[in-house]
């Protein structure tokens, strides 16, 4: 099947692959050990999936904010985002 119309690039393919692997991993984790709603530093009780969503949404805005505020390498934003996701999933 010709996929030219989707204009794939290697970085975007890796990005979507990571998202797909993350969702698959979360599904397996959920089957093995079902999530329990918990209350951490976030203002509401959240499931594991909620925390992943908040982590991913937050990291998207960290990248956008980084691009808007500084000309430094975007890897810096990715590092901050990884820390943010880890914090939200563990303590959120």
């Amino acid at each position: 099947m010709d996929m030219d119309w989707m204009a794939w690039t290697t970085p975007t393919a890796i990005f979507f692959l990571c998202i797909a692997l993350m969702l698959a991993g979360m599904t397996v984790w959920e089957v093995v050990s079902p999530t329990v709603e918990a209350k951490g530093f976030l203002p509401m009780r959240t499931t594991r999936g909620d925390r992943l969503f908040i982590g991913l949404l937050g990291s998207a805005f960290i990248h956008l904010g980084w691009l808007a505020a500084t000309d430094a390498s975007l890897w810096g934003a990715s590092a901050v985002a990884l820390v943010w996701i880890a914090l939200v999933i563990r303590f959120g």
């Binding site: 030219d4 119309w5 989707m6 204009a7 794939w8 690039t9 970085p11 975007t12 990005f15 979507f16 203002p43 509401m44 969503f53 908040i54 949404l57 998207a60 805005f61 956008l64 691009l67 808007a68 975007l74």
Partner: protein
């Protein structure tokens, strides 16, 4: 006896999954692919990394359109939600001709296509042939939505209220009708005031429909395009140019596909963020009372 685990029902969601993938997920993935490339035509694409995102995020016109959009959407919610609740509270209940007539009248603005609503208000507001414009002029107000930003803003806002408050009212009405009469009888026995009935019976029971109303009205108003485009064309100046109109100018007017794709993703993330915040706030409100 152990409970039998049967997850075959999950297969039933495959058609929905395929439709959503075809109509939403794959197009969204394509937009992400476009957003990191310069697109000259089919097969003529060049990887530019995050260049378009930087251009979009540092664009002053986009900042202005975003501020306008947020103010507009908050104003829409601030007016339409309380007004919709008030109308629903005042509507006749039960099955009667009066109820049917009210429901039909309320549903009428919802049946009118967006571009027709814009045209109706364009004519309605004109000073020479429109009833609204002529009335304002007759009472000495120099109303002109084509050259006065404040007038244009108020007209676009009132047009939206006219078009969509019915939706909020109908949703709230459905919520109110689902309250069993026993609740009102108990409140009457306790000597509850009208305010207490509203605050402790009607409002909590309307929470579900209000979540839908707030989310729908927020998302719709945040993506508004047709009505202001037909009414004011985004003017005077750029005073009523909202995000989607700016996006259309970029994508269709300038054929700047890569930049428009980057803009679309930023736009999508903003809508997602606001919707998530509203949803979380509304679903949390009253949780303490339930326990």
């Amino acid at each position: 006896m152990d409970k039998v685990q049967d997850n075959r029902a999950w297969f039933l969601i495959i058609p929905v999954f395929l439709i959503v993938a075809f109509s939403a997920v794959i197009p969204l993935m394509t937009v992400v692919n476009y957003s990191v490339q310069e697109i000259f035509g089919p097969g003529q694409t060049f990887f530019v990394g995050t260049e378009w995102f930087e251009a979009v995020l540092k664009d002053e016109r986009l900042h202005d359109a975003l501020v306008r959009q947020i103010i507009y959407s908050l104003a829409v919610l601030a007016i339409e939600i309380p007004l919709g609740i008030l109308i629903a509270l005042g509507m006749p209940g039960g099955r009667s001709a009066k109820t049917s007539l009210t429901l039909v009248l309320l549903a009428l603005p919802l049946l009118i296509p967006f571009n027709v609503v814009g045209t109706i208000w364009q004519i309605f507001g004109r000073g020479d042939i429109g009833l609204l414009g002529a009335t304002f002029r007759a009472i000495g107000i120099d109303y002109n939505y084509t050259n006065n930003s404040a007038h244009a803003w108020v007209t676009v806002l009132v047009m939206d209220v006219w078009h969509w408050t019915s939706l909020v009212a109908l949703l709230c009405y459905a919520g109110l009708q689902s309250i069993p009469p026993a609740f009102y009888q108990a409140a009457k026995i306790d000597g509850a005031s009208k305010w207490a009935v509203f605050r402790y019976i009607q409002l909590p029971k309307m929470r579900g429909v209000l979540i839908i109303a707030v989310l729908l009205r927020f998302m719709d108003s945040f993506m508004i395009y047709t009505e202001p485009f037909v009414l004011t064309g985004g003017g005077p100046g750029n005073s009523t140019t909202f995000l989607s109109q700016y996006l259309t100018q970029m994508a269709v007017g300038q054929f700047d596909i890569g930049k428009a794709a980057a803009f679309s993703i930023v736009y999508f993330l903003i809508v997602l963020l606001f919707s998530f915040i509203f949803y979380t706030i509304i679903t949390r409100t009253g949780e303490g009372e339930k326990k």
